[in-house]
């Protein structure tokens, strides 16, 4: 069987869906709810293509080719709808890709990562990380106007994290030996950055009660930020900020320990269901419509394998020591 994709005639292999045909032919097609070899149901519509003969917009991830099909993957019309699907997903995504403090630091320090090391009591690592970004003896925090503390999300809950004081205290701990070869990673400011927005009064109360890290940091930065398809495609599509009002029925900042190294943060879920369809009596859908969410009942947590994290297209499922 042969089909035409973007004026290119391509031979179809047995059982392939459109996206597989296109990708084999070297065409780049984004997709989120689809993962090769995994059970899936089309839902995100990021992989949309146009059937030129019928004029229909179809999900390439689950449509089987028919003889003589003519497909268009890159016309303006298709790209516009693809962008809209990303914008809609982002409008229901109350999460920060990068921590605001890390973005604004004039010295380019990934503040949130430093606080993460601090909160997990890896003080030597923290001090080394600090030293890898700038020499400890030239620490400029004392004279800095501290945009990090002004940007701090915790500040909108009650009081900002005392970032400068923590950095100062780390710098002074000369008893902690510097570890060799610490790679200084910085916040990615070039890519699209999703922003969480304001907390509701209820959320503030909840955060005050539950976040009890030594630094009081909320750890806004997404643990999945290096491997998030939503962010990658949004960057490629040139989206700056979603055009639609951001609101979500998902709990913000809730992090659930599933088992072992596996964690789940519902606010980042796009409800593609890959984790639901590929776990046996593990993750499941709850409710329907806009308020539908993916949940993991406590009794089911041991049924979920760690590898599931690799299926998740966003940072909703992630591995953490």
């Amino acid at each position: 069987m042969q089909i035409t994709i973007n004026n290119q005639v391509i031979e179809v292999h047995e059982g392939e869906t459109l996206i597989e045909v296109a990708r084999r032919a070297g065409l780049e097609l984004p997709s989120m709810c689809y993962a090769k070899g995994a059970k899936h149901k089309s839902s995100c519509m990021v992989c949309v293509v146009k059937n030129v003969q019928t004029g229909q917009m179809i999900p390439s991830c689950s449509t089987l080719p028919t003889e003589g099909m003519v497909i268009d993957t890159q016309s303006e019309e298709v790209l516009k709808l693809r962008q809209l699907s990303l914008e809609l997903l982002l409008s229901d995504h109350r999460a920060d890709c990068e921590a605001p403090c890390s973005i604004v630091c004039p010295k380019g320090l990934d503040v949130e990562h430093l606080l993460w090391l601090y909160d997990t009591r890896r003080l030597a690592e923290a001090r080394s990380f600090l030293a890898a970004t700038f020499p400890l003896d030239q620490l400029g925090c004392a004279n800095c106007k501290a945009p990090c503390e002004k940007a701090c999300r915790r500040g909108t809950v009650d009081k900002a994290v005392q970032i400068r004081a923590i950095i100062q205290s780390l710098a002074e701990r000369t008893d902690l030996a510097l570890l060799p070869a610490v790679t200084p990673h910085a916040a990615d400011k070039k890519s699209f950055i999703s922003k969480l927005g304001r907390f509701t009064p209820k959320e503030k109360e909840w955060l005050k009660e539950t976040v009890d890290a030594p630094s009081r940091c909320l750890h806004c930065a997404c643990p999945g930020h290096t491997d998030c398809k939503l962010r990658r495609y949004a960057t490629e599509a040139g989206i700056k900020r979603p055009r639609y009002e951001v609101s979500s029925a998902l709990p913000v900042k809730e992090k659930i320990h599933v088992n072992g190294r596996l964690w789940y943060e519902p606010a980042k879920c796009i409800r593609c269901g890959l984790c639901v369809y590929n776990s046996d009596n593990g993750f499941t859908f709850e409710r329907r419509g806009f308020v539908m969410q993916v949940v993991i009942p406590e009794e089911n947590r041991s049924n979920v394998p760690e590898q599931l994290a690799t299926l998740c297209p966003t940072g909703a499922l992630f591995l953490m020591e």
Partner: protein, 796 residues
């Protein structure tokens, strides 16, 4: 109540509960696919789903926690928290919405002193919820308390309704049947459908019983199918010994005695004399007798009803008011099952399909796909296991065709289904009926039993090698399950996610077998076609859409009800000639057809003949047949928002464009209706609507933007006015205020009625409404005898 027991008896009751759960599991089964019937049975037993009961289900069945959460939270029917003793369901269907259902809901909450966040009263007596549609649109606004339905409930009548219900509940408990032994000398027929019951047929039923007992006139009371003239009910037909019928619409219980005496003579002479005497005394004591229903001429009595009925052509509803829904002998005497016998005994399968193909019958569920083609597709597969499903999951708010067809003509639908089964080579049929229609389920179940007794269902029908049997599956409250792939998923015990087609259910449907899914109304047209032939059928209706269509006429129309007209009848004919024009002498503004998937047709286009293609051209759709008349006092932006909020709630949530896109459209409409919208919002709304239409994967999502697109097309000006903060109809609460005019005499009626104390008690002075406290419920407008309170736009 189970929970109360638990507290009192502790452990012992938990064991008792588990025993009850076990009994249900033994009865219903243990496989994954029976989860919905199992949960329904559990809820019927405990009135909600107690977690201990669910724990037992995990232990004893294949159902696991993931499936349980997924399914039990998807369907609206299932409750995870205990409810009060009685459940008040406020219908928020389209017809009820345009007549102020939200105010009724608020009024109940106020009357029962409910806090903002609870749904149950402190004394655990009542729980309240909004429900998509009870299917009694002609009696809007409608409220159902437990099984009892109340029509025309206004905010001011709430207390009255609750009192009436309490009385009814007490009577129910005390009632004992009184069966006399003498044979009846006549027959009184009365409709006992939901809507008839809501208008007080039960009181009439009781009155007939009492009167026949008191007067010694033994008459048989026969519940009959719906006449469709829902606005004329309670309506009784008196069948006389000579076979003639006298019809009395809008009867009152106190008139029953008079009617019976007029037609029948009591059995004994003494009773006759006694009755005559007592009647004379009655006449002197009450002046009402002089304006008695009997004094009016036949024409006067039934004038409106005859015009209501004359324009109609009956195929699906053939035998209205004559045939008792469950009298199988009577149905057979009226050519019932003649079509089935003809098909099975004289026609090869292909000939049946050809007849349906030639008749041009198109699916009545919404899409209008040629029924014959669907049948051919299923017949063409060579698998031995096939299914026929009758889709009775009528969820459109504002539609009640399927309910009435199943309640009143279940035998005709079953006949159509057996013929379909014969034609496509299936052995099993399933009725999928939504849970909100308990009466339809009961009647259909009974009708199936009757057919089995008569040998019309079962093995080797009419001596042929064709065997067929039917079961019922009750839907659990999800509009999306009207979509055929979602319907199949729900029968298979999953959440109602539609899946991508192809493969179509005709090739790969229920449990992977070829499945024919036809709407209730489609199946009810089959027997006529087989009996009279394709040619005769084609003479009715239009060329591309032959036959008749059943509509549920409701909204702001004088005579609402179920109507059946030939395709091609114009909307104006329907509204004027059948519906008697717009209610309250207002001007027609638009007609909404097709429910949440359809659109609004403006008054100037209402002379177009109604068929599948004409409606689609105008931006609406035929849909299943809901037809809601909108008058000048209906706000089109509000109507659009109403439908969008419905689809937003009913979206299954699987796909981005439907789940998030509709929510974003609703955000914009919310802004417009509260006067916070911008012109840019209107463009954004339109862009989103067009994109969702292209990108949604199932029928629900693809058609959800229609109400917005059609109102934008014909009523864009109204949207623009909302941006400026003007709602001319006074519907959008944030843009109106109430004003007391000079006609006020200071009678204080409004001040006493006001539930939020917004009107100070100032006798003999012109009243004044405090807008900060006013909740705009409109009670004062209803109360005022001087027409001195008006809704006015904040801006003009």
């Amino acid at each position: 109540m189970a929970c109360a027991d638990c507290k009192q008896n502790g452990l012992q009751t938990k064991e008792a509960m588990i025993a009850r759960v076990d009994a249900i599991i033994d009865r219903v089964g243990t496989s994954r696919r029976i989860i919905i019937p199992l949960l329904q049975a559990l809820q019927a037993e405990f009135s909600y789903l107690p977690s201990d009961a669910l724990q037992r289900v995990y232990e004893r069945t294949e159902i696991d926690r993931a499936q349980m959460i997924s399914v039990s939270t998807f369907y609206a029917q299932f409750r995870h928290i205990p409810y009060g003793r009685h459940i008040i369901k406020v219908c928020t269907g389209t017809a009820c919405h345009v007549k102020g259902a939200n105010n009724v809901y608020d009024a109940f909450r106020r009357e029962l002193n409910m806090d903002e966040e609870t749904i149950t009263t402190a004394d655990q007596q009542y729980s309240i919820e909004k429900i998509a549609c009870l299917g009694c649109c002609a009696l809007a606004p409608v409220v159902q308390i437990d099984e009892k339905i109340f029509g025309h409930v206004q905010p001011g009548r709430v207390r009255e309704v609750l009192d009436e219900f309490q009385q009814y509940a007490q009577e129910q408990e005390a009632q004992a049947a009184d069966e006399a032994k003498e044979p009846p000398i006549g027959e009184v027929r009365l409709g006992m459908e939901n809507c008839c019951q809501a208008s007080g047929t039960a009181a009439i039923y009781q009155a007939v019983l009492d009167a026949s007992h008191e007067l010694g006139i033994k008459v048989a009371i026969k519940p009959v199918s719906c006449v469709g003239a829902c606005n004329q009910v309670p309506l009784i037909d008196v069948a006389l010994p000579d076979g003639s019928i006298e019809r009395y619409p809008n009867v009152k219980p106190e008139e029953i005695k008079e009617i019976l005496l007029h037609h029948f003579k009591p059995a004994s002479r003494l009773r006759r004399w006694k009755n005559a005497l007592l009647n004379q005394i009655d006449m002197f004591h009450t002046d009402t007798t002089w304006d008695n229903i009997l004094w009016k001429s036949e024409q006067e009595r039934t004038g409106t009803i005859n015009t209501f009925l004359s324009r109609q052509k009956r195929i699906s509803t053939e035998g209205y008011g004559i045939i008792s829904p469950l009298d199988i002998d009577e149905y057979m005497a009226h050519e019932g099952f003649a079509a089935l016998e003809k098909a099975v005994t004289t026609m090869p399968r292909q000939a049946v399909i050809d007849t349906i193909l030639q008749s041009g019958l198109r699916g009545r569920g919404g899409g209008g796909f040629p029924t014959g083609r669907k049948w051919s597709l299923v017949a063409a597969t060579d698998k031995t296991e096939k299914y026929v499903i009758c889709n009775g999951d009528e969820g459109d708010p504002g539609a009640f065709m399927d309910r009435i067809l199943l309640e009143s003509y279940p035998l005709r639908v079953i006949e159509g289904m057996i013929i379909a089964g014969y034609a496509v080579g299936a052995r099993k049929g399933i009725f999928y009926i939504r849970a909100e229609y308990p009466q339809a389920v009961i009647r259909t179940r009974k009708a199936i039993e009757l057919c089995r007794e008569k040998g019309l269902l079962g093995e080797k029908l009419f001596g042929s090698d064709f065997s067929f049997d039917v079961t019922i599956f009750e839907g659990a409250g999800a509009f999306v399950c009207g979509e055929e792939t979602a319907l199949i998923a729900s029968i298979e015990g999953q959440r109602g996610f539609p899946r991508q087609r192809p493969p179509y259910p005709a090739v790969e449907g229920l449990f992977g077998c070829p499945t024919l899914i036809n709407n209730v109304e489609t199946l009810s047209q089959i027997s006529y076609i087989i009996r009279h032939g394709a040619e005769a059928y084609r003479t009715i209706g239009t060329e591309k859409s032959p036959g008749t269509k059943v509509f549920a006429l409701a909204g702001k129309v004088c005579h609402g009800g179920l109507i059946e007209v030939p395709m091609g009848t114009t909307l104006n004919q329907i509204i004027e000639d059948i519906g008697g024009g717009v209610e309250g002498g207002e001007k027609l503004k638009a007609v909404q057809t097709g429910g949440p998937s359809g659109g609004c047709i403006p008054a100037e286009l209402c002379d177009a003949p109604v068929d599948f293609d004409a409606l689609t051209r105008m931006g609406a759709i035929m849909g299943s047949g809901g037809m809601v008349v909108l008058s000048e006092s209906s706000c089109m932006v509000d109507v659009a928002r109403y439908f969008l909020s419905f689809t937003c709630q009913e979206s299954c949530g699987k796909c981005t464009f439907c789940r998030v896109g509709i929510r974003r459209m609703l955000d914009i409409l919310d802004r417009l209706c509260t006067g916070k919208g911008t012109m840019e919002d209107i463009d954004k709304l339109e862009e989103l609507a067009i994109s969702i239409k292209q990108m949604a994967l199932c029928g629900l999502g693809k058609t959800a933007p229609n109400p917005v697109l059609s109102t934008l097309k014909y009523f864009r000006k109204e949207y623009e006015e909302h941006v400026q903060g003007i709602c001319r109809t006074g519907t959008c609460k944030e843009m109106v205020k109430l004003e007391v005019t000079e006609a006020c005499v200071g009678c204080t009626k409004c001040a006493k009625a006001c539930p939020s104390d917004a009107i100070p008690y100032t006798p003999y002075e012109r009243h004044h409404i405090n807008m900060e406290q006013c909740v705009l419920c409109g009670l004062c407008i209803d109360e005022c005898s001087y027409d001195a309170i008006r809704k006015v736009a904040l801006k003009s």
